[in-house]
């Protein structure tokens, strides 16, 4: 065998790596279309339905905003500025997690680094991948927003296709900014905190978020000032989000310009965003590439923390939490709980969610003080129900949906367990229900006491949240079994995948329908019905919403269970 190799290999291979990734994706799509065409079409159909739903939701929200001139001129740009600022923070965090996993924890990175590739090519590849993974759902959700905005502006402002092109362009050029920040963060944590990267990131992120929330809530406090003065002071305090140096302001101003036919203004902001995006990407890729080998070494060498714990055959404290389950199921549920709390990537995100809920609940007395004497007495409890439902949906989509997929590598073991597969699904469902009922039940009870809600409405809200728990947990476990990603071991990636997105959209749809039904019923009982809650329509809407939630949970579980029975170990 004669050698045909070039003497020195140092040419860029990024094009080859990207081409290989595209080929992998193409193979995956072709395989999915050939093996499960119905699943592909059903998923596309569901996404289309959700798109239409989101479009009308955004449209309704914007129309509500437009009712008063003050809201239209001041609130909408402020909301958009906050929206893109929040995206900047969330996408930076999301990209940091994905880039850290891809560059410092995956076997692919090890394989590529042992090959004659420049670190720059590997880093750029992973940067592009993390952008695509963390941002595609954003683009997916951004499209209905775009159409709703265009519809609201009307034909006079949005002429031709320029608005749509500029809107999509803004999303695309904005995404690399948080992507670059995320890449740099991932490198910093691998390089300087290899042993406790996730823990330290959680503490910093959680503390920052808590400070931001406390500050935000303080800013919202009305005190004894007149509403006009308060509003002026509030807008002055919030004006920092419109600072010229913030990317969220470039995007908001650019989209606003496009929406109102100011194409040149819009193009100027697009160029500003693009140039900054390119510069930051260049900076992040170069810095991380230049010092990558040392960071990789530190990340690998720092992974020898040994966690030791005595085994408990009955599942220990975790087992006691699921006392009502028969023994084999109790052990599975206890195992899930322990696995969850031993994975910093999982519990750290729960800490953030829980922190937000605690902050929100801590401010409940303030809300009660403001609205007790007003005509909004039923509005605040309803908004409270909405907030808890959305937090719950976030939890089930992020943490419950991946439970079945995470069993991928142990399917052979599950196949040997002397029980029906459906029972395993029931164990997962029980785990999710127990945790969510405990958290949401406690939150809702606290809110009821703080807001001094009438007993009948308290009962209705408690029944609604329990049914929503059932529906969302059933959806997450059922769809998790029906659309699993057995080849993935990263819960975040499972949740961000196609199945996870379907579950997210289905969950949002479910709580949307339930909350609209309960909201309309509350409004009708309070302002329209002479008999208050003792009205057939009110009772029908509430019972219907509760039954719908229970039905969705049960049907999803049944579909998931039937599919899971057929999956080969």
């Amino acid at each position: 065998m004669s050698s045909g190799r070039s003497p020195i290999i140092a040419k860029p291979k990024l094009e080859l790596l990207l081409r290989t990734k595209v080929r992998s994706l193409r193979n995956q799509i072709v395989e999915a279309a050939a093996r499960a065409p119905i699943r592909v079409w059903a998923t596309l159909l569901l996404i289309a339905i959700i798109w239409v739903g989101l479009y009308f939701l955004f449209l309704a929200v914007f129309m509500q905003f437009r009712r008063t001139p003050l809201e239209a001129t001041v609130a909408i740009p402020l909301v958009f500025n906050f929206f893109f600022l929040a995206l900047l923070a969330l996408l930076s965090f999301s990209n940091a997690i994905i880039a850290h996993g891809a560059l410092f924890a995956k076997r692919e990175a090890e394989y590529l680094l042992a090959s004659p590739l420049r670190p720059r090519d590997v880093v750029t590849l992973k940067f592009v991948e993390s952008l695509a993974l963390s941002s595609w759902s954003l683009i997916l959700l951004g499209l209905p927003l775009m159409f709703a905005m265009a519809q609201l502006a009307g034909d006079r402002a949005v002429s031709g296709y320029s608005f749509y092109i500029i809107f999509v362009a803004f999303f695309l050029v904005f995404i690399p900014i948080p992507g670059s920040l995320g890449l740099l963060l991932a490198w910093v944590f691998a390089r300087f905190f290899p042993r406790k990267a996730v823990r330290i990131a959680t503490i910093i992120g959680g503390t920052g978020l808590a400070i931001f929330m406390v500050w935000g809530l303080q800013s919202l406090k009305l005190g004894n000032t007149a509403p006009e003065i308060w509003l002026r002071a509030f807008l002055a305090r919030m004006s920092f989000v419109e600072a010229a140096l913030f990317p969220n302001n470039w995007v908001t101003s650019g989209i606003d310009g496009a929406l109102h036919g100011k194409s040149w203004d819009s193009l100027l902001y697009l160029c500003v965003t693009l140039s900054n995006s390119l510069f930051l990407s260049w900076l992040a890729v170069n810095v991380v590439s230049r010092y990558f080998d040392r960071a990789y070494d530190r990340a690998i060498a720092g992974r020898d923390d040994v966690y030791r714990v005595a085994a408990n055959p009955a599942g220990g404290v975790s087992g006691k939490l699921f006392f009502y389950l028969p023994m084999p199921l109790r052990l599975i549920a206890a195992k899930d709980l322990r696995t969850f709390f031993r994975d910093p990537l999982q519990w750290s995100q729960l800490v953030i969610l829980f922190g937000l809920t605690v902050l929100y609940l801590a401010n409940m007395p303030t809300l009660q003080h403001y609205f007790r004497e007003t005509t909004y007495s039923l509005l605040i409890p309803f908004l409270n129900l909405c907030a808890i439902s959305f937090i719950l949906a976030t939890f089930t989509c992020r943490f419950v949906f991946p439970l079945i997929s995470l069993e991928g590598h142990q399917l052979w073991l599950i196949g040997l367990v002397p029980m029906k597969r459906g029972r395993i699904l029931f164990a997962k469902f029980s785990f999710a229900m127990t945790v969510t009922i405990l958290v949401t039940g406690a939150s809702m009870t606290w809110a009821i006491v703080m807001l001094d809600i009438e007993p009948i409405w308290a009962l209705i809200h408690l029944a609604t949240i329990v049914s929503v728990c059932y529906g969302l947990c059933g959806l997450a476990v059922g769809l998790g079994a029906r659309l699993p990603s057995f080849d993935q071991t990263n819960a975040a990636r499972i949740a961000n995948g196609l199945g996870g997105t379907v579950n997210l959209l289905a969950s949002l749809s479910l709580i949307g329908v339930v909350l609209i039904a309960v909201g309309v019923a509350s409004w009708y009982a309070e302002y329209r019905s002479a008999t208050g809650i003792h009205n057939a329509r009110v009772v029908g809407a509430i019972v219907g919403a509760i039954l719908l939630s229970l039905a969705v949970g049960s049907i999803s579980l049944a579909i998931g269970s039937r599919h899971f029975d057929r999956v080969e170990a």
Binding site: S2, R5, I8, S24, R107, S115, D293, D297
Partner: protein
Amino acid sequence: MSVEDGPAIHLEGVKKSYGDHVAVRELSLTIPRGELFAFLGPNGAGKTTTIKMIAGLLRPNEGGVSVCGHRIGSNGLAAKSKLAYVPDQPFVYEKLTGREFLHFVAEMYEVTSQRRKEIIPQLIERLDVGSFLDQLTESYSHGMKQRLVLCAALLHDPSVLVIDEPMVGLDPRTVRTVKDLFREQTDRGGTVFMSTHTLEVAEAVADRIGIIHKGDLLALGTLEELRTQMQRNDHSLEEIFLQITRESDE
């Protein structure tokens, strides 16, 4: 002497720690060209850490590593272009077919199209991967993946083949083929650095053997030299290995 004339692998006073745990301590080792070297040791002895330092994945805390005269670190790309590394868990892209993966590796190592036309059919035949080469690799068993990554590793005719547990999951016929391929590689002047727990394979094919335990290189030499060192001329490699590691524990 140009750098290209240096030994295939040279480790000089290499130390690697994971926090307080020293995985490899003061390891100095020179593997000449054309040698099949077997690196043995119990679990956690420091074999994989050493291999990862040779492959340029880990940086030694002290000392240095060179491959074919090129220092890993300062001249890593040149060193890696001479090297093929096969980890204990073979990595393949799950959504590529075996053939696509081979062509990807060939392009990565800039193997000329002329050589590709010659070498790929030869390796396919030798390692008997033709029957599943056009399937996605996600459907492969461990042994099939191992055969494919061996094909990929040999595509660019590496000067140094570093391989961690090469025989795991292979059927007896493939084990024989792999042994033959290793021997052909060294006969042509190439070097094979193999870490294994399969002492029979090491005994059968290795030119020299190194035994590492708790980060220390306890023994180094041919099988005969190890026997002489232990004063046990009739001992098998297994008995020598057990005696050396047991004495070290005591």
